[in-house]
């Protein structure tokens, strides 16, 4: 099997010749490993795609998740200056806003004029965006999707290594767009105060994200990951999950599956109370399954409950095992995960969440050795 075939077999719930191995990189980890400019990694498509390809090679992963797309080839035109301040780069934009780029994590904005988030009662559905031109990456941090170059990063990687390796695109859940629109706290309270209006907003984003997902399918990606970090028990109840997440992600999953492309959900933290419900959306698999203390999922239990519903991609604890653990801890933990995960196929070995920035290279390379020794 090629790595691409291996990952596909796992996503098809079949057994594989070797255990597929594929973790997602945090931008901080890429920066710390490759010693590149954080400004270029964020803005420049070539730096970004080259980094993903290079790090896959270093770690001998079976695939690559392309977590950002839509890079603007003329990004430099919007930048007035780049200044080195301590261990960070400060970029001043033509708008007057500043972006601070640490050397080990996501950038963050310092707005010239802070734009207040909308209150739910102030939201006019007519004023919601008609084009999805941003990815809500983190709190107050958008990645702009250039409409003329929406998927260049993905197609470049597919053209370069896609015949051999599994290439996955990424979209963001409607629930994230919703919370990003209103602010996390006000958005969560809005679910209680004006649930019907919240649902209308969620449907609006669902329509746009479905369109984006279908376009992404056309690039030839092997799978699409739905980033849905706020859908776990750390934020909302199982009932609210059924009301404010499931119907919307279901619509997207249905559309993507009809195209013959796999789609899986990434929800961090505690999801043990909703594993089966997550599969009601029609997704092909689940990523993360954070074990305690980060989450509350024991792989053995998850495998019993959902192992036949779809594939599992996980669930190495990136912080407590990889970042803070010894080599012995890693070997012990990963072997346990492999023993449980690979029963009846449908398993991709991966970190639960993305690789924490400061995890040492040798520790990730150890994963390949463990897999190859089995």
């Amino acid at each position: 099997m090629t790595p691409k075939e291996r990952v596909k077999a796992a996503m098809d719930l079949k057994t594989t010749d070797k255990i597929p191995l594929m973790c997602q990189f945090s931008l901080g980890h890429i920066l710390m490993q490759l010693n590149i400019s954080p400004v270029n990694l964020w803005f420049d498509k070539v730096t970004f795609t080259d980094s993903l390809i290079k790090l896959r090679e270093i770690y001998e992963f079976d695939g690559i998740l392309v977590s950002l797309h839509g890079h603007n080839p003329n990004w430099k035109e919007h930048i007035v200056s780049i200044t080195d301040i301590r261990n960070q780069k400060q970029v001043e934009l033509a708008s007057g806003d500043k972006i601070i780029f640490p050397n080990n994590d996501l950038p963050y904005y310092e707005y010239k004029n802070e734009v207040a988030k909308l209150n739910i009662s102030e939201v006019d559905l007519e004023d919601l965006p008609q084009i999805l031109d941003y990815i809500p990456v983190s709190s107050n941090l958008h990645f702009q999707i250039n409409q003329n170059h929406k998927f260049d990063a993905i197609t470049d990687i597919i053209n370069s290594v896609g015949s051999k390796f599994s290439i996955h695109g990424e979209i963001t859940s409607p629930f994230d767009y919703f919370l990003d629109l209103l602010g996390y706290q006000d958005g969560l309270m809005a679910l209680m105060m004006e649930p019907e209006k919240c649902e209308l907003i969620l449907w609006h984003f669902t329509k746009l994200i479905t369109k984006l997902s279908l376009e992404m399918c056309e690039t030839g990606v092997d799978a699409i990951k739905i980033s849905s970090p706020f859908a776990g028990a750390g934020f909302i109840s199982p009932n609210d999950y059924k009301k404010f997440v499931l119907p919307f992600e279901s619509q997207i999953a249905l559309a993507v599956r009809q195209k013959g492309v796999h789609i899986y959900t990434h929800t961090c933290g505690a999801i043990g109370d909703r594993l089966e419900t997550m599969f009601d959306s029609g997704i092909s698999g689940i990523e993360c399954l954070d074990p305690p203390p980060l989450g509350n999922v024991m792989l053995e239990n998850a495998k019993e409950r959902i192992g036949k519903m779809g594939f599992i991609k996980g669930n190495i604890d990136s912080v407590n095992t990889l970042l803070n653990g010894s080599d012995d801890d890693i070997v012990r933990d990963v072997q346990d995960i492999i023993n449980i995960g690979t029963r009846d196929g449908g398993f991709i070995l991966s970190t639960a969440c993305s690789i924490a920035p400061a995890v040492k290279r040798e520790k990730i390379q150890l994963l390949r050795k463990i897999v190859d020794n089995i």
Binding site: N104, Q185, V319
Partner: protein
Amino acid sequence: MNEIIESIGLCIEKGKVNKASSYPIDMQGKDGADEITKSALIQNIGPDEILKTCNDAMQRIGEKFGRNEVFVPELLMAAKAMTTVMEHLKPFFQAGSIKTKGKFIIGTVAGDLHNIGKNLVSMVVEGNGWEVIDLGVDVKKEKFIKAIEENPNSFVGLSALLTTTMENMANTVKEIKAEYPSITVIVGGAPLSAESAKKMGADAYAANPQEAVLFLNEKIAS
């Protein structure tokens, strides 16, 4: 009198802010924390009694949150109702007729801008009768030290979501302990555990807001 006091507690626990609020559905059209507190004060019910019922209600909702019986939206609504009551009680705090349990300084550590966990802890701790001094996000260690200097005998809470800021958290704990060895420091956040908290020299790790409250209350009781 008991009935009105209990109603305030119920409004907080259920997140009923005022009459106009449509949440929760089963209390639509009824008076909320705002109206009932106003009425209680007019009826000369002691602010200390109102405060106690608020603290009890926030403790109950915090416990439910810790047991995953309610989630962040419900907790936020309860905190909003609590804040409404506190607005009415503000003059009594200023006059000194009611007092808080102590001061709790909180912030996310340098480099960390993620504030939802910190805000939830602030709300629940405040709701349990503490004065909260919220230093906000991306707080440098010098700012924590200055806040401690200005508020002797306070307790300190540090929050971090990112693994990359755990080092800053450890440095902040170290600095605080070097300057003020007797100050109690609680840490919390997704990448942390009791073990990592101990390793960085913190006095306690709180996995959720209620654990922070329990620790603080135990500290002042001992």
